[in-house]
Amino acid sequence: MTAAVEFAPWTDPTETPLIRFERVVKRFGDFTAIEPLNLSIYRKEFFALLGPSGCGKTTLMRMLAGFEAPSEGTITIGGRDMAGIPPNKREVNMMFQSYALFPHLSVWDNIAFGLKRGDMSKEEIAARVDDMLRLTRLDRFAKRKPHQISGGQKQRVALARALAKAPKLLLLDEPLGALDKKLRQDTQFELMDIQEKTETTFVIVTHDQEEAMTVASRVAVMDNGKIVQVDTPPKIYETPNSTYVADFIGDVNLLHGRAEIRADGLASLAWAEGATPIKGTAGEGLQGGEASFVIRPEKVTITASKPKDRTNVVKGKILDIAYLGNLSTYHVELPGGQVLKAQTANNRRLSRRDFTWEDEVYLSWTDTAGLVLAR
């Protein structure tokens, strides 16, 4: 997934962001939906907002589109303060979660709807609509009404309609929520393709972490009206800044204890009475004290005999085995009662599987595989 020239405008201090949230707060009555929030999104980014239900993702989008005004702070798009500018005067289009296709208009007229509001000639509109139909592979359905096409096709119409006006910024609120897994994956790649072709800035809302990881250039993880971490998908996955993010993105093992920073820069965590402290990379701002050790299951090696070359070794008993086809996840119970997961690729035949229930096994990992995060 590495491009020839890496796309990372957020690392370039001379780059000005397309969207800037500055100390934005949103309150509904006495309920604060968005806590003071700063965020910059750059041109041509595919930016994902990820978070549990009710954390304020839609609210953030609606403020960008202009349907809600921030209670405090400023939002600028392309350097222009958006306060008081109604949705129809913004170069922003939104693809609604429910698609919001006009049921009385054909697919063609739905896509042309926004174009007709501008000062384009009839011929220009027709050409643009046909372009959009081709882009979203809807040519054959142009004359149908929304109730005569499938869910996936509706979703593409909604996308085509929002893209037709060539907005600076396209907002997608859970665009793939209604699709089944297969169609969802296909559409994700289609979306990325379209985003690349049109060079539009996309902001997508999702609560599916896999989706965010697949499509986005950067991901913002939200919790209760706050942004907890903004980073590229690999960084979010490899170096989460908190146990919340680690737990939210992907599968993770957690061990709690007291941390110490070692002379070699690593951190060690005393996690159980009498056990050798485990070592891991020190997380951002770790001072020592109460901390958690986080490690992804696929970084934990499971063996029948004690490995000699590793310092992080724990012994346990297999509690459960989850067979996922290409992968197997072993749930291993440690003497102290904690359960760790270890994942291995199934490149052998099932019948020759090494381990079974109740087996005594050793779990081990390298010194830099896990992270020690302050709590």
């Binding site: 589109a65 349907f67 109604p86 949705p87 129809n88 922003v92 289009n93 939104m94 609604f96 429910s98 919001a100 006009f102 049921p103 009385h104 709807f113 926004g114 509001r117 501008g118 009404k145 109730h147 309609r161 006006k165």
Partner: protein, 298 residues
Amino acid sequence: MNFARRTLIGIPYIWLLLLFLVPFGIIFKISLSDYAVSIPPYTPTLDLAQGWAGLRDFLSQLDFENYIWLSEDDLYWKAYLSSVKIACISTLLTLLVGFPVAYGMAKSAPEWRPMLMMLIILPFWTSFLIRVYAWIGILSNEGFLNQFLLWTGVISDPLQIMNTSTAVYIGIVYTYLPFMILPIYATLERLDGSLLEAAIDLGCSRTKAFWLVTVPLSRAGVIAGCFLVFIPALGEIVIPSLLGGSGTLMIGKVLWEEFFSNRDWPVASAVAIILLLLLVVPIMLFQRNQEKAQEAEG
């Protein structure tokens, strides 16, 4: 199909047969008869005691004389035309009043809606006749309206509203307003708010979004409401008789007079049959509209 299902499906047909087709047949038969000073006031009557000969005799006396009479006397077709005109105009007026009311109801806070709905239906709790009489009290030369206007000094002589077509329009709009409001309200209430947001997002002003989204999407309700007002208004009789005076010509009134004043049952029946045929067209259009609306939803 088992017996229980057949019976279940059969019930509405039996209903239609008993309450619509049989009375229609009787009226149609009377419309083909002749006026007579007797009880009932027409000939021939079927004498079943004479068997087949009686039936043949009976059928031979039926003719379309009354219909020819209707087409020759211009009173009737003028009454039909004037009824259609009054029904059309009052339907339009009801729509103009009803749409904003329905729109306001649909836009109001959800907790208010049941209350507003009650207020719309409330008038039905008093008798229709009493409500029409109440309008006489309001509209007559010594009525509340004129007294109020005289008192405020807007006019110096009482306005003549009673016994004009204005009074008929007021009466019809007032009476049938709920039939207009309710179907429109039903479509507006179901309207997905995100459609309006989408329209605005795509560059519409609020007014433009109203015309391009709200209006077309409430079409089914508007059409349903218009038919629900037009159809009964066309045959309306109480309102023109009580409020319209002798000046307003409506077919319902003509029918009433033929039947009760002239006791000419055959002609009255012929008038009723023509009125029914006039109504079949809008009723069928109405049916088509409902079907289409259902299709679009499905």
